[in-house]
Subunit: 333 residues, 2 copies
DNA sequence: TTGAAAGCGCTACCAG
DNA sequence: CTGGTAGCGCTTTCAA
């Protein structure tokens, strides 16, 4: 007994009108008499009818679906980005089709699939698609937009990101300006390309300021790894007087390590993070950090959806981050 | 110059075969000669053709879309649930259409919209839909599944949740068994119905154990609120010797408050959370908590997708949580 | 304002 | 194995 979903024809029959009339009754600015509209709406509710969005999509040859591809929604920072993106997308009348992929290669597999759903745009976070794959999307008329990571080399799609390298430079500036002189780095460059840019900006600026790195630890982008890295750094002979951690998660780990070693923050050791997730403002951490401009990134991204790559040529946008002073770095005078 | 997307007909023409052949070449177990399949695939890549999923959905009268409606993806606990759900859904070949709603009423508005996309199931987290709205979905043949919150009264859909009340009872058991005798409650019952169940179980069990509540604070479900509540409780004349916080977020706030007041945890005051989010295991908090069985909830939820409510009658499933002993509660002997 | 008819791009069923 | 044909449920001309 597979109950066939009620269609516009069913409603038309009950309301005693044509199928076209039903369609019009559900189309905002269509020319229908108020009388027929009422009759149709009534028959519709009676039968439990609702227009089939799939059929509508097919005939309109366009839909309000957008693809969102991301690596890890549980990642605190990404989840904030996602929330913001979802809110704004829905506010603009779009429906996000969400894909989670874990491995790098899966991004390239998933994009063509997303494309088949005739989405109006594809947003990618957590990795960068293969240029060829991106090109094929663009070719099909679908803008592809990489969020929050910079793409080096030839890449045909939209890229809109926080200026991670500038963030790294800011970090060096602030730490040195606050009086820290033996600065070490806790990072995850091996796993995350965004961290590479942060490290690059940081080390370059440090050099410009006449400082040398007092230590370096690379690991996973996790609290545990930050903890372990900081433990090594802070219990070594020549203890650093500040740690630049290339993400807040790493910084939280470092802070917990400093605490465990009985060090006073920031007097004994300053800690600077990157991202400015919600937790950074918690009194338990009160983390000084480099704030990523999530809102600006999302706003900028939104401007691409619905615009064919043919008319709106792919652009690369870099949004500047800024320093947020809290209690884990010395206060500059 | 609106470049019409290439269709199966275009490919058929180039490959010198019929449209049916093209369709077959893209259908896994169809009967096509290897020769034609090759020719078609080649013509397809040449033209940049990919089957239109929308059209396919329409004709197949079923699709692999599922609706996921949630309140706050940035909520640490929900984001874990979401990640898990997404992973398993994709693993099973489904495509999640994600909706974020903030206000209670919006849930009822959004469900009919989701329904229009002919989704195979709808998962709701963060609120409970109006029974009538749920019924209309069920009526349309789409299972609706409320995740992680219990529904009181008449409700026609699936409900699969952690047994929050049992979790509350466990909390009382563990705290008392560990030797805490002046136990206060930090919660957010005013805003979250899940917390209500936790509180109910907790207070009832406490009573059964012959204990009385040593304090009670209600507020927002945030770190800030937990901090403020604990501050009030712990600086009052008759200081509690343990705090049951109905979520980990509240507990983190309470822990920060205890630390700020110079209290030793758990000697001076024990703290017990609820959820067991990742952060609870961080050494900085090392929070004892009640673990929510996210995996079990998701597995159970998955079994409903694709099964018509007509054949699989709506069920209510309650999954038991368990206690996780860490460093913020006294160790029972 | 209304209804009839022609598809949207595809799959499924039929003969061949 | 293959090509024609008939729709999926809807919107949209086009006449009336």
């Amino acid at each position: 007994m597979s109950k066939r979903r009620t269609t516009a024809d069913d409603v038309a029959r009950v309301a005693g009108v044509s199928r076209s009339a039903v369609s019009r009754a559900f189309t905002p600015g269509a020319s229908v008499s108020e009388d027929t509209r009422q009759r149709v709406r009534q028959a519709a509710t009676q039968l439990g009818y609702a227009p089939n969005a799939i059929a509508r999509m097919l005939i309109k040859r366009q839909n309000n679906l957008v693809g969102v591809v991301m690596s890890d929604p549980a990642n605190t920072f990404l989840s904030h980005l996602l929330t913001r993106l979802l809110d704004r997308l829905q506010g603009a009348g779009y429906f996000p089709l969400l894909f989670r992929v874990s491995r790098r290669e899966d991004f390239d597999t998933v994009l063509p699939t997303v494309l088949q759903y005739q989405v109006g745009a594809i947003f990618v976070t957590g990795s960068t698609p293969n240029p060829q794959v991106a090109a094929s999307c663009l070719n099909a008329g679908t803008p592809v937009c990489v969020l929050n990571r910079w793409v080096t080399g030839e890449y045909p799609g939209h890229v809109i990101s926080c200026d991670h390298e500038l963030g790294g430079r800011l970090a060096a500036d602030e730490l040195v300006r606050a009086g820290h002189r033996r600065i070490a780095l806790v990072t995850s460059v091996g796993e995350l390309s965004t961290h590479q840019a942060r490290v690059r900006g940081f080390t370059r600026r440090l050099q410009e300021l006449g400082q040398t790195l007092a230590g370096f630890e690379d690991g996973a982008p996790t609290h545990d790894s930050g903890f372990a890295s900081a433990m090594r750094l802070l219990s070594s002979g020549a203890r650093p007087d500040a740690l630049f951690c290339t993400s807040d998660m790493l910084a939280f780990g470092a802070l917990d390590a400093a605490r465990k070693l009985g060090l006073v923050v920031p007097a004994d050791v300053g800690v600077l993070g990157f991202d400015d997730v919600e937790m950074a403002a918690w009194p338990g951490y009160d983390l000084s950090t480099i704030h990523q401009p999530v809102h600006a990134v999302v706003e900028s991204a939104l401007s691409f959806v619905g615009h064919s790559p043919a008319t709106t040529p792919p652009s690369k946008v870099l949004v500047p981050p800024h320093f947020v002073a809290r209690g884990t770095t010395l206060q500059k005078r």
